[in-house]
Symmetry: C2
Subunit: 317 residues, 2 copies
């Protein structure tokens, strides 16, 4: 596998097209007034499995050899990639083995089981996830599809920004959240290939600011303790995602958990759509750093909408 | 004013087109499996002011004479019509005077004020609303735009079903909620004119089942005490809406508040969109009476998405 090229991203989009939604781009006059810029929201919360992860998991699964398909796929994931991979496996008639931290939202575990995925629970640390996954792979012979540090996954995630540029041309900025960097690196590549005048930005929780620290130090910094409510953005960058981000992303803006909840609330109230905490991070960043985006056309990737309503209700109480 | 004709509804749609959203129709494979039929959701929660009421208020306001416009418009409304009329007035440079029960959700009051509407609070009874409105009209000379018992409003609401039939042809059923009956009577007329083979149904809260009782008794029954959480559906029918409903609506299905919350939760979780309690009523009715809709193409009008998140969170806790 190589760094995705322009041609390979175009091919990936063709490959996955019939398995994913072409998600809509939403706009809101009242939010534009509030933010002082022209916002375009790419609604991957309406994507299959409720998140952009459907793209990368589907692309990587479709690229497996017949021999690999027989043994199935495995991964560790805090949530949406787990569901996405289980779904891709189900569609292609493969087994899927999913290592999940026991703290992962119940709605995401239910989703995995609904697609016939077999769950292996572990402690919510990277070490526990990796060692549990290694055991599972040893036992099953399944192919690991890493949630982000995998060029086929990155190539699939890149199709989101490609579609975005097709539907909302002329963006001055595109901004995505960053956890492991699969979406962000894919977005950066798609921008370079399909809309090179657009500036790539990212939003990150202040309580999980390892990507921001990595950009400053020039090397991959370890993840912060998992305290942010943005539970999809707690992992550190990978050696495949980091160099692409370092080279192509202009800036990572960090936001507090309070700013994340406030931004999420605006989206629920004004756009009338459900987005999850991690998904609200780039929009929170735009609201925080208004002068940077003033008067510009800003494309925000809404990454997912898998919310545990029992928990989310309390955020707004 | 007369009962809206086919031609007048077509003209209304042309008249209001530039002031309203052409809202999307959503579908969901997982919800179809759950419901056992093919569901099409007309998303008026994405409409201007977050509800279909933008249509009727705009249409009625646009039909006022220059003399009437000078004195402005007035109404009493528990919520969405209030915002819709304030918005229409603002666009046309008129004053708007809105009588609202003091118990109306704060988000809806804020919305009215945001459009420059002047609010007059009153007790949450029909008598208090009517007497307060009469005083306001006496003082200002404003024209009353009733939230539902007004043919121009009905004509505007009818454009929702017209649009729905254009985007989702061949519906076996169309189902809307019923409060005062403005949307339902407009939907019934639009169905008669534009999709006569479609059966018109309605959903109503069991705790506010006056329309269902009226259909049985053949006369307008008074509203129940305002206890249902479906706060947009607490009023009784009007003498303009009732005859049309009696003649053209096949059946009104009533649902409990628990069934309303359960249906709303499914929509938030699966469709990833925000709908308000009143809006969940017809979908709750479809889920309750599955055998009636089994295998059919069912169009559900999602009426609005103006939710007080502080309250809504508690519903799911």
């Amino acid at each position: 596998m190589n760094i995705p090229s322009k041609e390979s991203i175009v091919a990936a989009h063709e490959r996955i097209k019939i398995y994913i939604h072409h998600t809509p781009v939403m706009t809101s006059k009242s939010i534009d007034e509030m933010a002082g810029c022209h916002l375009f929201f790419k609604c991957e919360n309406f994507q299959k499995v409720g998140a952009f992860k459907a793209r990368g998991a589907m692309n990587a699964s479709l690229k497996l050899s017949p021999e690999q398909r027989i043994k199935g796929v495995a991964t560790h994931s805090s949530g949406n990639h787990a569901q996405a991979l289980a779904r891709a496996a189900k569609i292609l008639g493969m087994k899927s083995y999913i290592v999940m931290p026991r703290t992962a939202p119940e709605i995401k575990k239910r989703g995995v089981r609904g697609y016939g995925g077999e769950i292996f629970e572990c402690e919510p640390t990277l070490e526990a996830r990796e060692s549990t996954l290694a055991e599972v792979i040893k036992k099953t012979g399944a192919t690991e599809i890493h949630p982000f540090n995998n060029y086929d996954v990155m190539e699939g995630q890149a199709t989101c920004a490609k579609e975005f540029f097709e539907d909302a041309p002329g963006l001055d900025f595109i901004i995505a959240p960053v956890g492991g960097g699969g979406l962000l690196s894919g977005t950066a590549l798609a921008t370079k290939y399909f809309s090179p005048s657009t500036i790539v930005m990212a939003g990150e929780p202040e309580l999980a600011n390892d990507a921001c620290r990595s950009m400053k130090s020039g090397k991959i910094e370890p993840a912060s303790p998992p305290t942010s409510i943005a539970d999809g953005l707690l992992t550190s960058l990978g050696d495949k995602t980091f160099p692409i981000i370092l080279e192509n992303v202009k800036e990572i803006i960090t936001v507090t958990d309070e700013e994340i909840v406030a931004a999420m609330r605006i989206v629920w109230e004004r756009l009338k759509i459900i987005i999850e905490t991690s998904c609200a991070v780039p929009f929170a960043a735009v609201l925080k750093d208004k002068q940077k985006f003033a008067g510009k056309k800003v494309g925000v990737i809404f990454t997912g909408g898998n919310v545990d309503l029992n928990k989310a209700g309390k955020l707004f109480a």
